[in-house]
Amino acid sequence: MRDLIDLWVGAQAWLFETLVSPVLFHFGLMAWYEPGYGAVEFVMLGVIQIAVIAIGMRYFERRWPLEKAGRDDGLIMVDRVYTVLNKLGIIPLAIFILTYPLVQEIELSVRSWGYVPPRLERLLPWIGDNALLSFLVYFVLYDFAAYWLHRGQHAFGWWWALHSLHHSQRRMTVWTDDRNHVIDDLLITLALVLFSQFVGVQPGEYVVILMVGRLIESWSHANVDMSFGWLGERLLVGPRFHRLHHALSTPAERHIQDHNFAPVFPIWDILFGTAIYDEKIRPTGVDDAAVDADNGRGWIVQQATVFGRFLRALMPRFRRRASVP
C-alpha cells in the first residue's frame, strides 16, 4: 500500500514541481501554492476516472447494451466533451476560482464566530478507529445532501431550466453524468462544499467522496442491461434504477422523472417515498421540444441556449418579451 502511495504522491509532486510550482512562483501566486498542489491531484484523479469510464465501463456498454447503436449515436459526442472538461478539472477550476472568495468569506465568518465544525469521531470515537467506516459515514451524509439538492433541481422552475440540459440527452451513456450547465455545476458545488464544511468532512475525504461518488454516478447513466439484484439495487444506485429517473414522461407517467433522485444510495428515495423499482424499459429524454432541441448542439451553443432558458425562467418579464413572435 505504501508503495502505491509513494508512486502516487511522487507523480503528483513531480507534476507540481515541474509544471505548476514554477508558474505560481514566477507570477507571484504563492498564496495558491497549496491549493495548486491539490489541483494536480484532482487532475490526476480525473485522468483515472476517464480511464475507468472509457475502458472499464464502456466495455460493459459494448458487451451488454440496452439501446442498440442507431441514428442518435452522434448525440453522445458532446457528453464526452463535458466529461473531459469536468474530469480534467477545467470547469471545476473555473468554479473554484469563482466560488473560492465566497466560500472563504462564509467559512471565515463562521469560524470567527467561534463555530467549530463537528467531527463524528468526537461523538462516536469508535468511528475514528475505522477509516473505512468513517469515510462511509461522511459519504452517506454527503449523498443525503446531494439527494435534496437533486430534488431542488426538479422542484424550482429556474433550476430545472438549467438541469433540463442534463435530462435532454436521448442517448444516455456513461458519459452523460457530466452533461450539466456550468451554473448548475457551480450551484451544486457551492452547496456541497459548504455542507461538507458544516458537517466536518476533511478536505482529503471530500476529494475521495467526490471521486467515488462521481464514478458511481457515471456508471448509473450507463447504457447497459444489468441489475445489481434485488438487494443490490436497494443498496447502490445502478443503471436500471437511474434510467427510470431519466425516462421520457408520457401522459400515463407524467411525473416519472420525479422519482429515483438518489445519486449513490437509493435509501433516500425509499425513505422519502420517491423510489420506483420496475423492469420496464423506457426511452430517455424530455417531453419538451425546446429542451429536446439541446440534442445535436455543441458544448458552447448548449451552454448559451440553456443560459437563455435560465434567464427566462428567472425573470418573468424577460420571458414574456421573449415569447413575442
Binding site: I5, V9, A13, F25, M30, A31, V116, P117, E121
Partner: protein, 337 residues
C-alpha cells in the same frame, strides 16, 4: 501490519528501547492527525487524531508540555513532553496557525493566518490580552529577547509588523519583499532574518524600525528557519527549490552548506544528540532525515498527508490510547525503507 502488531511494536519500544528510541511528533496537516515516529527505528509507530488542520507546535515555557495548534478547530492539544500522552485541550484559541511563547514565558502569541489577526494572550491560563486585526495573512512570529516585542510576517501584503506585547499596539509595519514567511531573531537581538517565500532570498531586517538592511540569495521559496543550536547557524527550508540551506549569521549572513530535499521541505527539528535534522516533506507525505555533519539525506520516514510541524520528544512516547482516544494505526510493514 494489523493494529495488534502496531500495538506490540509500540509496547516493545516502550519497555525495551526507551533509552535509545526517542520519539518524534509529526503533524499531518491535511488529515487531522499526528504521527509518533520512532527516531531510532525510523518508522511511524502510531497515528492519532487531533483537531483539524494542525500546522505548528510549540514547547511550553516550563518545558513540560508540547502544544499543537489545530487551526480549523480553534484549539490547542497539550501532550506530555516525556511520554507524548495527551494532557488537556485548550479551547477558544482562534486559528492558531503559528504560535509561540515570549522568552520570559509571560506571553503566548498566535498568528491567525486565515482569520487575519494576531492574538496576544497572558500565557498563564491563556487569557486573551489583545486581538489585533491586520490584513495580509499573518504567517510566522518571532520575539525579541527582552520579551517586549513580537514580530509577525504578513505573507500576502509582503510586510513585517511589530507589536508591543504589553500594550498590544502596533510599533511598525514595513514592506520587506514578496510573501515573507519564516522569521527569526538572532541572538544579538539586533537582526531579524525573514524568509521570502515568493522570492529566492532572505532579508535582514532591523527590529527597531523594520528597515531592510541586507539580503542573501538562498533558493526559490525561502520559507522557514530552524536554529542549529550554536547561536550562529540556522537551517532554512526553500520550498519551491526543494532545498535546505545552512546559513552562517556571523557578520553578514552567508550560505555555508545545502542539501536537496524534494517535496516542498517545510518545518524542521534537530535530534537531541544534535546529529540529525528532520525535515517535513509536505508533498511526499514523508519526513527526510539529514545527517548534519555531512549534510546528506540518510533516511526518510512515511507519515500522513501534508506533514508540517515536527517536534522531538525527549524520550519514547508511550503511545497509549489513554482517555478514550482512538488509535488509528497507519504504519505497515512496507513502510520501513
Amino acid at each position: 501490519m494489523n493494529r495488534l502488531s502496531i500495538a506490540a511494536l509500540a509496547f516493545s519500544l516502550v519497555v525495551s528501547g526507551a533509552a535509545r528510541a526517542d520519539s518524534v511528533i509529526i503533524l499531518n496537516s491535511d488529515e487531522a492527525s499526528y504521527s509518533i515516529v520512532s527516531r531510532s527505528a525510523r518508522t511511524e509507530v502510531v497515528r492519532l487524531p487531533v483537531g483539524r488542520e494542525p500546522h505548528h507546535l510549540i514547547l511550553s515555557p516550563d518545558g513540560k508540555e508540547v502544544l499543537i495548534g489545530s487551526t480549523a478547530t480553534n484549539e490547542l492539544l497539550s501532550l506530555d513532553i516525556k511520554t507524548g500522552e495527551r494532557k488537556r485541550v485548550v479551547k477558544d484559541i482562534l486559528d492558531p496557525y503559528h504560535l509561540g511563547f515570549s522568552p520570559d514565558g509571560k506571553w503566548f502569541v498566535t498568528a491567525a493566518y486565515r482569520l487575519d489577526h494576531v492574538d496576544i494572550y497572558h500565557a498563564d491560563g491563556f487569557r486573551l490580552a489583545g486581538r489585533i486585526f491586520i490584513d495580509g495573512l499573518p504567517s510566522h512570529i518571532a520575539f525579541d529577547t527582552e520579551s517586549k516585542t513580537v514580530f509577525v510576517t504578513l505573507q500576502q501584503s509582503g510586510r513585517v509588523a511589530a507589536f508591543d506585547l504589553a500594550t498590544q499596539t502596533l510599533k511598525w509595519n514595513m514592506p520587506v519583499g514578496n510573501a515573507p514567511a519564516g522569521i527569526v531573531m538572532l541572538p544579538d537581538d539586533k537582526r531579524l532574518l525573514v524568509a521570502l517565500t515568493g522570492e529566492d532570498r532572505i532579508v535582514t531586517v532591523d527590529p527597531k524600525d523594520g528597515a531592510v538592511t541586507g539580503s542573501l540569495q538562498t533558493g526559490k521559496g525561502a520559507h522557514n528557519f530552524f536554529p542549529k543550536g550554536d547561536g550562529r547557524h540556522y537551517f532554512l527550508s526553500n520550498r519551491v527549490e526543494g532545498l535546505v540551506t545552512l546559513i552562517d549569521t556571523k557578520d553578514e549572513p552567508k550560505v555555508v552548506a545545502s542539501v536537496r530535499i524534494p517535496g516542498g521541505p517545510d518545518c524542521m527539528d534537530i535530534t537531541p544528540d544534535g546529529r540529525e535534522l528532520w525535515v517535513t516533506q509536505r508533498f511526499l507525505r514523508r519526513v527526510a532525515i539529514v545527517d548534519i555533519d555531512t549534510m546528506k539525506v540518510v533516511g526518510s520516514v512515511p507519515v500522513g498527508k501534508s506533514p508540517h510541524g515536527v517536534f522531538m520528544l525527549k524520550s519514547t512516547a508511550t503511545v497509549t490510547a489513554g482517555a478514550g482516544i482512538p488509535v488509528r494505526a497507519a504504519s505497515t510493514a512496507g513502510d520501513r525503507k
